[in-house]
């Protein structure tokens, strides 16, 4: 299991700039409710994940805010409604499902076109191609690229305008492990630079690695929206072990922070009801005459939280 790294940016700013606000957005395809009454807000500086199994409405939601799918009802506004939708789109960077470019144009020609559409100068093309490691192939036609290269070109294209928000829809879909690693490294690099990111994915570990906030969708309905670590009210798990396992079990049963105890081959897993310092656990256990051979506090993995949440509703 992996340790969740939650990146928190400065939340002390009183006036948080809202980048995107979605209000009761719905999309019906005939009888199918692809997106059902979804509302959430995206604030500047955070990394958001949209989670949901395939067909849960992630791409449709993004399609609506990106002006390519017409909403059945509800509304959304970019940058607090200060600009028209297509003007707002010039300030964002988005890649959706799979990279879409003109096959007979080279990387540079394709990016030049994007610059013309976004009304920005073309002088960032080289810099962005360098970032995604495509400099050597910049003049070969797009149709000769591998999927990984296409996806990296899409990222370069989305970054051309130094966007205020980067929207990524399944950016690692269909890539080989090296390709996935490369894309992930790039995303993490961008996240660290403070760019707001909205990442839609069904790959939980992908979201887990970079996101501070999540929106969980299932069958078009929103199940949760908020910080990752508040998705389920729990305080994680303590893994511990001692040579004297029965003694340790007896000791744990008397502790106030314990919800449940599970004995496994590699140790004992204790679910917590309140936050507790591992050093305190160690000290009290030692006082009770038990020497711990192993002690670790672990947050619940996103996968566990996600399964718990989606099965609850």
């Amino acid at each position: 299991m992996t340790l969740i790294v939650v990146v928190h940016y400065n939340q002390k700013n009183v006036t948080v700039e809202t980048i995107l606000e979605i209000n009761n957005l719905s999309k019906n395809y005939a009888a199918l409710k692809a997106v059902d009454n979804v509302s959430f807000k995206i604030n500047k500086g955070h990394v958001y994940g949209i989670l949901g199994p395939n067909g849960s409405g992630k791409s449709t939601t993004l399609g609506m805010v990106l002006n390519v799918v017409n909403p059945t009802s509800g509304s959304y506004s970019w940058f607090e409604g200060t600009t028209s939708n297509h003007e707002a789109l010039k300030r964002i960077g988005a890649i959706i499902e799979r990279p879409n470019f003109y096959p007979s144009m080279s990387a540079v020609q394709n990016l030049e076109l994007v610059c013309k559409i976004k009304e920005i100068p073309t002088d960032k093309i080289q810099e962005k191609l360098e970032l995604v490691d495509l400099i050597e192939r910049q003049h070969s036609p797009f149709k000769n690229y591998s999927l990984g290269m296409k996806q990296r070109l899409a990222i370069a294209s989305a970054l051309l305008n130094d966007p205020e928000i980067l929207i990524l829809d399944e950016p690692t879909n269909g890539l080989d492990p090296q390709g996935i690693r490369k894309i992930r490294d790039i995303i993490q690099q961008i996240a660290l630079s403070g760019t707001t990111i909205l990442l839609a994915s069904h790959l939980l570990d992908e979201v887990e690695k970079v996101c501070s906030h999540v929106v969980v969708l299932r069958r078009g309905k929103m199940l949760y929206s908020g910080p990752v670590d508040e998705m389920n009210s729990n305080h994680g798990i303590i893994h511990c072990d001692a040579n004297d396992r029965t003694g340790l079990l007896e000791f744990l049963k008397t502790q106030p922070y314990v919800v449940s105890i599970k004995e496994e081959v590699e140790g004992i897993k204790v679910k917590l009801s309140q936050p507790v310092e591992t050093s305190l656990v160690n000290a009290t256990a030692y006082k009770a005459g038990i020497t711990l051979s192993f002690l670790m506090h672990k947050k619940q993995s996103l996968e566990d939280q996600f399964i718990e949440l989606t099965s609850k509703n």
Binding site: V69, N70, N85, H86, K90, Y102, E112, E119
Partner: protein
Amino acid sequence: MRRLLDIEFHKFRHSKSSKVLTIIYLVIVVLLMLAGLIRININNFSGGLSDLGIFNFPIVWHISTYFTSYLKIFIAIVIVSLTASEYSNRTLKQNLIDGLSKKELILSKVYLSGLLALAVTIIVFIAALILGIIYSDYNEIQIIFSELYFFPVFFLSHFVLFCFCLFAGILVKRSAFALGFLGVWWIVEGILNLIARWFDWKYDLNSLEWFSHILPFNAISNLIKNPAGRIDIIESTVNQVDDNLLDLSYNVDWQDVVSVSIWCFLFIYWSYAILKRRDL
């Protein structure tokens, strides 16, 4: 407008089909210019095509615009394939995401159609001018610059066809099917014409003429009428057979101009309406 043209021309310039077909178009125009050298032999007449008087001003304006009109099919194919491939490559979706509005997207394609129609008109004008200067028996400025109205009409007939292609590409989404759609439409017009002809014959109506102004392909092809009646040698040949066989009217009908202008507007508007309603 300049930005939209710039965007669309960038796509046009870097597309393979556009390069190939532009070259074909230019080659054919040049070949047609060389037509003056062709020797023919009809009805006891023998000599070069130029000796027929077809390159005389102002008839050369009519002849050149009429015959090069058929070449617009090449450019029409480019427009259909450029438009429909925006769907199959999903670049249409990407353009919208990058910040082009749906209205701008249609407008950029309309502008490009206009620009291409204009470019073709200028090329044909220059070609005809050169032919005329070389072969024409009359070289008075007044005569040279008479009947120039064929060129605005020539431009219009191209522009409306390109808009039709744009509409077909947007509606059908696949270039092969979009071309098929245009072909089917053309056949449908042909069948309607036949039916109209039959009705006219049976009930002594005038529906064929009506159809010839109303239907888009009919109106486009009627804009510039067959100039055969103006060529002396053909005229005299035909008149030997039957005085009334050849319809000698070759003026541009205002009904056709109005009709294609309306079609033009409708095609642009419908393209926009379809794109606006559609989820991509």
